[in-house]
């Protein structure tokens, strides 16, 4: 890592410059990803990375991604909640592909993907 400190300083300057261009408004969307043992063993890590990757790709700067432990519904893992303005939707049995769709449809286009939500899975 030693020789790359100079690089890192360049990266910092670049990030600073880009940050000024970004929308600095308060985040109004919160994604909560299940990262307990059940979530991780079911594949939460690639799901998390897909969500963040899609958010970054689309420069969705007011979306916050956080983790939570097991919520007692292990058979629905990997799962995550999307909270927008106090409204919570729980997506279950996620894959990285489905997670990317949720970012685009739900977070960007504001359309809930019913087929992937917990209500749908429970009725099956």
């Amino acid at each position: 890592m030693k020789k790359s400190i100079a690089d890192l300083m360049k990266i910092r300057d670049e990030a600073l410059k880009n940050m000024q261009l970004r929308d600095q408004s308060e985040s109004n969307c919160r994604v909560v990803v299940g990262m307990g043992t059940c979530g991780i063993s079911a594949g939460a890590r690639p799901v998390l990375r897909a969500i963040i990757d899609e958010i970054n790709k689309r420069s969705l700067n007011n979306v916050q991604v956080v983790q939570t432990g097991c919520v007692g519904m292990c058979r629905f893992e990997p799962m995550f909640d999307v909270n927008i303005n106090d409204e919570k939707v729980t997506y279950v049995n996620m894959t990285s592909e489905k997670a990317r769709q949720v970012v685009v449809e739900h977070i960007v286009n504001k359309r809930v993907i019913r087929d992937y939500t917990i209500g749908k899975s429970e009725n099956e």
């Binding site: 890592m1 990030a15 043992t37 991780i40 007692g72």
Partner: protein, 176 residues
């Protein structure tokens, strides 16, 4: 758990839950073994908790009455005739050491350890991670405390920084 890198993420989540501010992760490889050490400065455990922690029917969680993380790691280590050790003291922290015999047919692979480190930094940018990986020839250390000092206020989970970290990790793992 499919591989060791998943266990690392899971065990580190215990440290996060224990309110650790510094988490050390070490992976030491030899021809014979993969040795994993995860050490935190979190709340620690009392004797009673510590003694029952490898028992799958023990947990302090409330949503489910079994804890799985540590028993699963213990099981995967023992299947390779490896060694498992855990020490903990209240208010001081916890250390877990797992030694896998990598030549054993039942040994799970190391997996994508870089992804685990990046995921941890993305999820918990305020915690300091000190990640060391070494074998008999090479040693790599990523200390987020030092990186934050250079970043001087820019968040470590900004996209540009994460991309740099990823490249740095990758650059080095190619040497392994």
């Amino acid at each position: 758990m499919r591989d060791i890198s998943m266990h690392v993420l899971d065990i580190a989540m215990n440290s996060i839950k224990a309110n650790a501010t510094v988490i050390k992760i070490m992976i030491i490889e030899s021809d014979e073994t993969i040795r994993l050490i995860i050490k935190d400065n979190g709340c620690g455990m009392d004797k009673e908790t510590l003694n029952s922690v490898v028992d799958p029917f023990f947990t302090t969680r409330k949503t489910r009455n079994v804890g799985l993380g540590i028993p699963l790691l213990y099981q995967n280590v023992k299947r390779t005739s490896g060694k498992f050790n855990i020490t903990s003291s209240l208010k001081l922290g916890t250390a877990i050491e797992a030694i896998f015999n990598r030549k054993h047919i039942d040994c799970i692979p190391l997996g994508d350890i870089n992804e685990t480190i990046i995921s941890l930094i993305l999820l918990e940018p305020l915690i300091d991670f000190i990640y060391t990986r070494k074998n008999s020839f090479k040693k790599y250390v990523l200390n987020t405390k030092k990186i934050k000092r250079v970043l001087n206020g820019v968040k470590i989970n900004e996209k540009e920084v994460i991309d740099w970290l990823k490249a740095d990790l990758l650059n080095f793992s190619m040497a392994f």
